[in-house]
Symmetry: C2
DNA sequence: GTGCGGAATGTTAGCGCTCACACTCGTGGC
DNA sequence: GCCACGAGTGTGAGCGCTAACATTCCGCAC
């Protein structure tokens, strides 16, 4: 119970107080905390004891002020509730802590240029040493690059592989994997339920879908427009159900695949007997869709870790080593089979 | 391009530089930034111009050091990837920003006493003014209370309504709502697929399930043990499918309901014709399960906002007004119907 | 014209830390 | 016996800000 009336919380013990108690100078305490090497073992223990007794914690604001380094990385993401972004955030945090950095996470409730600006602004106020932006809209990537802040910005979604200061997953390869699986089962062509046109990921997955056909000398099936939501998957599903030509669909993500399955059931089309469906992301629920969903798994946490390591490299002013994009893998379940007949 | 060789990033413009440029004292600049009231309009504009020209940003570390207030709230959560926690985090952040606070979010990759301790420690190092803990394990709530840090800790899951320094959703009422719906449709009793015993939420939902039966003078149906995962829902579903007595199941969350549906389909039991199913949470996908899931909706973002407001109240040393828990609502979809016959 | 009072602005002293340097020992070489 | 040296420690300044107090300015009453 701190004295409730006081305007300012009472100050906690300072380095000077620890020093006095241990009978040394404040600088020696500082040395114990930073590079113990130069302090005699006996003194070190005495200081440590004093720290313990006083419950001392180093004042981070004073430290930042004196060193001009915040040891803080900012991260902004939209759609924190989605599987991908939240896993990325986790990866960034973990890797950050390992490297002695704190991570300030700002979640956008929705995407808009203004909110993004705002978030970056706020992070700048906190003097972050680098910012990781995990917002997949194409516009976001462009906005981000236009900012030219004084700190490095690492983009982690919505960018082409090989872009400087970025980390990525090879979406195209993943899509090709999924579509290839369908074609190799004997489907003549595969329809694609695409994500929104302004997402780079959607474009990349679409490219993989086309490529898989081309590599086999086949013509791609019809393309449907979606927006990642199950509702859009459902709408597309109604269309698919009406066209007996379509025997296989590659959905741009698992949520749309879910809506698609729902519509197919509604119309009495059997999966995979009448129509095969494959998704993308491998959300934890995908294995329990009806039927369980064949989909593409990506290691988002690893993506986050890489993003952080790129950011730290930039902070240290190192030459950037461009990492190969992460390769997704295909998880085959019950929603895909060879076409009938 | 900062000079790559320098050990420390070059300092950004200081208040003193702004002052010089505007031809005033640094204190006047400070006044413009804080309580503009006492500064002549003309001077104010001159200072603002100087700030603009120099691209000045107030150094937050110096400010914190001088005021002894960090304007930062810490939040720790496990299962950031789940719908509930991520929405809560969003609510806390939004409300925090509105109140001029930054929020430091620490996501635990899994729950353990050690990791929780660690996270709280890290936040303490950042001198947060309060901590919001959104970790639902019963153990977490206990650990949290045992910490007695120097800052207020607000618990936001895993606590009974009315607990001091907490915000909550009335889980029991939500469960009673869901089960009541089933009973009022004419089901003799409802089976319950419960969450893990060490989650307070699981216990509360279970209590609501029992209460709904008692209020109607009915005996509750069988109780099954789950762990929130779709896999556990699937296991339970196989059991349910084998018992024709069970005509309705209340699942502790939507994920388990999904697994349950999956098992029911697998065994050829029709939903809702043979078995009605209701979930809890109303995740965005629930409307597209097959069949679409009747479930209980909770306003997690609001929960987060309340938690923050409780935290700020405590920081200001106000007497705590205990808020009524948030009332969930029932969303009826296709997975529930009257029993056959 | 003198003085008074509030509005506007300036001055000074820290906040708790790190950095650069200064100092004090004891030890060893000559 | 003196100096050089390095290990171990201390001293002082200063990071950029706010808080408290000091000062100046100006218009107005007398």
């Amino acid at each position: 119970m701190a004295d409730a009336g006081s305007r300012r919380a009472s100050r906690s013990p300072s380095m000077a107080q620890v020093a006095q108690r241990a009978g040394v100078s404040h600088q020696t305490v500082s040395r114990v905390l930073n590079d113990a090497s130069l302090v005699k073992e006996e003194t070190r223990l005495r200081v440590l004891a004093a720290i313990e007794e006083l419950g001392y914690r180093r004042n981070f604001a004073a430290r930042i002020l004196a060193t001009n380094r915040s040891r803080r990385i900012g991260m902004v993401t939209a759609h924190l509730a989605l599987h991908g972004p939240s896993m990325i955030a986790l990866g960034v945090q973990e890797a950050g802590y390992e490297a002695g950095y704190d991570v300030s996470l700002v979640g956008l409730s929705e995407f808009s240029a203004e909110l993004l600006d705002n978030a970056v602004d706020r992070l700048s106020d906190q003097a972050v040493e680098a910012i990781v932006v995990a917002v997949a809209h194409r516009e976001a990537a462009e906005l981000t690059r236009a900012l030219h802040l004084s700190v490095p910005i690492v983009t982690v979604q919505g960018v082409a592989a090989g872009t400087p200061l970025s980390a990525s997953i090879d979406q195209e390869a993943g899509a090709a994997l999924a579509v290839g699986h369908l074609l190799d089962l004997g489907h003549r062509h595969v329809a694609h339920l695409a994500g929104p046109a302004d997402w780079v990921e959607a474009e990349q997955r679409r490219a993989g879908w086309r490529r898989a056909h081309e590599e086999r000398g086949l013509l791609p099936g019809p393309e449907l427009a979606g927006d990642w939501s199950p509702a859009s998957g459902h709408r597309a599903g109604l269309l698919v159900a009406g066209d007996p030509q379509v025997t296989a669909v590659f959905a741009g993500n698992d949520s749309m695949a879910l809506g698609l399955l729902n519509a197919l059931h509604e119309r009495g089309r059997r999966v995979p007997d009448d129509v095969s469906v494959v998704g993308f992301d491998d959300v934890p629920e995908a294995a329990y869709f009806w039927p369980s969903l064949t989909t593409v798994s990506q290691d988002f946490a690893e993506l986050g870790r890489r993003a952080l390591s790129v950011a730290l490299g930039a902070v240290r002013g190192e030459d950037e080593t461009v990492l190969d994009p992460i390769r997704p893998t295909l998880t085959v379940r019950r929603s895909t089979a060879a076409p009938r007949g």
